[in-house]
Symmetry: C2
Subunit: 156 residues, 2 copies
């Protein structure tokens, strides 16, 4: 079942980020920081919305999205990650679909997912393409020399 | 003379933003908010650096830049604006060049300037191209339907 993330989900959200295998320590720390903002300030105030898919008490995956400043209805998909034990079961697809529906409900018209152009992220890029996103733009050497930014866009 | 912006420059920075003729009220308010952060928290803490070109007590223009989270040396040029009475005098060029030098001094390797694809911003886009930026990417309908995001990039 997909639902708004609750404070009690925090430890599992952090664990999933750490175990995802594609995020470095700075990124893991970043998820912790925005999670704290989400719990302490609330989604509307901090601009970060977290949703989770749960099976009983177990969190299978999470997504985080929010509005981009100074735009009319553009939302960023900041994070999406699935527990390694729950992969190939459609969790990611359901989380992304639920994010798109939530964005639409908040008046959004576009969801943007940014990821890396390296081979490690090829499954991620294929995932977005398979979910109807267009590979709209690339900024070469963005993350570091040889590591491009790939920008995926979907009108929701 | 180009220098770090001082608290006393605040009123003139706000006036220049309002008079620039290309920023809407939300954008003018945004400059005020990040200016307040810059003055109250300092550039390092808030991530926004402001520089100005002054002629005596008069502020002719300003630029604002800062590091992008989760990147290795990417900086955003958030704002650059010149007082209408000081245009065509190289103020914008000097502010952008000084921003690039400051980014380099902070360990940055790339400066990104985002602007709109509408005719109103054609002089802005020409300005970046003339300063050696490449028109790296476009996200269609980003700001609103028919109003694209144009991303200009320079390796500094």
């Amino acid at each position: 079942m997909i639902a708004k993330a609750l404070k009690a989900d925090g430890a599992q959200v952090q664990e999933i980020t750490a175990k995802a295998g594609v995020f470095n320590q700075e990124e893991v720390d970043c998820v912790r920081e925005i999670w704290d903002d989400y719990v302490n300030l609330g989604a509307e105030e901090c601009g970060y919305n977290f949703i989770v898919e749960r099976n009983g008490d177990q969190v299978l995956g999470f997504a985080c999205y929010g509005p981009r400043d100074l735009t009319d209805g553009v939302f960023d998909l900041y994070w999406i990650a699935v527990h390694p034990d729950a992969r190939r079961d459609g969790v990611g697809k359901r989380l992304l679909t639920a994010s798109e529906e939530a964005v639409r409900a908040l008046g959004g018209r576009m969801l943007i997912a940014e990821t890396s152009g390296t081979p490690l992220y090829e499954p991620t890029r294929k995932f977005y393409l398979g979910m109807g996103y267009s590979a709209e733009a690339v900024i070469k050497d963005f993350y570091s020399d040889g590591d491009d930014l790939a920008i995926f866009v979907k009108k929701v």
